[in-house]
């Protein structure tokens, strides 16, 4: 636990940009010179306007991108905290705690990489995609949202080696349905010995994670899931963000894992994914 936190810093950073890039979806860019070299894809930051009293607590956001002079998060405006964040403009101050949590582990050797992203879950896999592609891995991305206007503009993100398949629940772009249904259509539920072994990275809402865990297990695909949770601190002290851990079949309750410090990336087989809400 301690090792993951040794890189975390507590700083006040300045807003460079805060732009709406899709419906109710904002890309916040903060001036920063340290995270570019230090952050792992999958890690996150806790953000808060420094003197806010209501809401009082910070919010967790995956690191969307980290460059030499800036760090970015992609977020949806859904509640009190994100409404406050969406009002920030160039020069405004933000308290930033991070990088926090563990990152996505490298895919198994010789596997074909599959990334399943649902809704704002795309924010967590973006940096991972960049890293995989930079390392020469071919990646298949299945990215689903409610409607076409919710999509992060992927034209900013074309790369050789990346094949993208979109899903929208209202059918306004790509496959009509959700990411899990798209997965079933493309990849099927059967273990096919002649096709290359796959490794999957998954991030999206709880209902998607519950369904994806079942489908991936049926297909014999090993995976890494990135979870979200209500957090007060993000660095392991409030003990509020827990998820149920899975123990041996005949054991009693296997206890809990902290999404912030033991995760947010987990092997889904180590968790009681059915309990995610």
């Amino acid at each position: 636990m301690a090792a993951k936190q040794t890189g975390a810093l507590n700083r006040i950073l300045s807003v460079l940009e805060n732009q709406e890039v899709a419906r109710e979806t904002f890309l916040l860019s903060l001036s920063d010179r340290l995270l570019g070299a230090a952050v792992q894809p999958g890690q996150f930051l806790m953000l808060s306007p420094p003197a806010a009293l209501d809401p009082f607590l910070p919010r967790p956001f995956a690191v969307f991108d980290a460059a030499a002079e800036s760090v970015k998060v992609l977020y949806r405006r859904v509640g009190k905290g994100t409404r406050l964040l969406a009002e920030l403009g160039r020069g405004d101050a933000v308290r930033v705690l991070g990088p926090l949590g563990n990152g996505y582990a490298a895919p198994d050797e010789g596997t074909a990489v599959l990334v399943l992203a649902g809704g704002i879950g795309f924010a967590s896999v973006h940096l991972l995609l960049k890293q995989l592609l930079r390392n020469g891995r071919a990646v298949e991305l299945l990215y689903g949202v409610r409607s076409g206007s919710d999509l992060y503009p992927l034209d900013r993100f074309a790369a050789p080696g990346l094949s993208v398949h979109l899903a929208t629940e209202d059918g306004s772009a790509g496959f009509r349905g959700n990411v899990c249904e798209l997965f079933q259509t493309r990849c099927g539920g059967n273990r096919n010995n002649s096709s290359p072994r796959r490794f999957a990275y998954v991030c999206g809402p709880p209902a998607m994670l519950r369904r994806a865990a079942v489908l991936l297990r049926e297909s014999g695909i090993r995976s890494q899931f990135s979870l979200e949770s209500r957090m007060a601190c993000g660095y392991g002290v409030c003990q509020g963000c827990v998820v149920r851990a899975r123990g041996p079949e005949d054991a009693g309750q296997a206890g809990y894992r902290k999404v912030c410090a033991d995760g947010p990336v987990f092997d889904p087989e180590a968790l009681v994914v059915e309990s995610l809400e």
Binding site: M1, A2, Q5, T6, G7, A8, L9, N10, M46, S48, L53, D54, P55, F56, L57, P58, K80, R95, L97, S229, R230, M231, A232, C233, Y235, G236, V237, C238, Q239, G240, C241, V242, V243, R244, Q253, G255, Y256, E277
Partner: protein, 314 residues
């Protein structure tokens, strides 16, 4: 240079700022962010005899200016603390206060004996907001006779300073404080969280798995401050103020109302450096006001004679 030192319960604190139990784990989680030895004291997560897994999620929910928690006293248990955490904490030059909790007098007694005999543990803080399962689940701290009995039981089993952390969910907290003093407490700390609740009107479900939880954060400061003021007027033992302290101004208000020291809790969730920033603000205030010693501030509230109604129900 101003003198920020205070003494309470036989301990010398280099300054009046302590961490609140349950908001800094076992202390080491804070060390990437700040030098722990600069704290007046470190109060770690409450320990029980056996490890506790805690409550199912959701365990926390934000509220206006604060939050509710129903963590369920999750902790690694006293033996794991002694073996894994204490050796490293001994290297930190500050006062280590170990918070303890149990479901029976016997459990508190075992904790007091086992932890009290450990070198490096400087004081014990009793969490008395736990239900006494032998008495149908009434919290120790909400029944004066039970509270007295518990403190006497613990007092007899350790020579270390005993701080009693009072529950605010009582009719008269100053009466509880007086009973704690009479039973041998070396100091009292207050307040622990206030019982509260949050509901989602769309799902018509409570937002916490356990329905109710403890409220903390800026929202509770007025209540905490009032209780500290009442208790400080009632007892002679030192009072440690807790409740919604975010800034140096907040901390100073508690000192002025009679607290010898303060604990910072929820504020650390947003800002792990809160304690040291509050300390810096206290020092700045003392210098600006030409006050030589922080201890000169304690209990310095000036109340003009407001008549017989002062301090009563509005």
């Amino acid at each position: 240079m101003t003198d920020t030192s205070v003494s309470l319960a036989g301990l010398s604190l280099k300054n009046p700022v302590m961490t609140a139990s349950g908001t800094c784990g076992y202390g080491l989680e804070l060390s990437p962010f700040l030098d722990l030895s600069r704290l007046g004291a470190l109060v770690v997560k409450g320990l029980s005899v056996r490890p506790r897994q805690g409550n199912p999620p959701p365990r926390i929910v934000e509220t206006c200016g604060g939050m509710l928690n129903a963590i369920g006293l999750e902790n690694i248990g006293m033996e794991a603390f002694i073996e894994e955490c204490l050796p490293r904490l001994r290297a930190v030059e500050t006062n280590l206060v170990v918070n303890i909790l149990g479901e029976s007098e016997a459990e508190y007694g075992m904790l007091a004996e086992r932890l009290g005999e450990q070198p490096g543990v400087h004081a014990l803080e009793l969490n008395v907001s736990c239900p006494n399962v032998k008495r149908g689940g009434i919290a120790f701290g909400s029944d004066a006779a039970m509270l007295e009995g518990l403190i006497r039981f613990v007092r007899a089993r350790t020579r270390k300073p005993v701080v009693v952390k009072l529950s605010p969910n009582v009719t008269d907290v100053s009466e509880m404080a007086a009973r704690a003093e009479g039973a041998g407490a070396d100091a009292v700390s207050l307040i622990n969280t206030l019982r509260g609740m949050s509901v989602d009107c769309e799902t018509r479900r409570p937002r916490l798995a356990t329905v109710t939880g403890g409220l903390s954060g800026p929202a509770i400061k007025p209540i905490a401050l009032r209780m500290v003021w009442e208790v400080a007027r009632r007892v002679r033992i030192p009072v440690i103020g807790i409740g919604g302290i975010v800034t140096a101004q907040d901390a100073l208000e508690f000192l002025i109302c009679g607290a010898t020291a303060v604990q910072v809790g929820t504020a650390q969730f947003r800002n792990p450096n809160a304690c040291l920033e509050i300390l810096a603000g206290i020092e700045e205030y003392l210098e600006r006001r030409g006050i030589a010693r922080v201890s000169d501030l304690i209990g310095s509230l000036e109340v003009a004679d407001a008549g017989p109604g002062a301090g009563s129900e509005p």
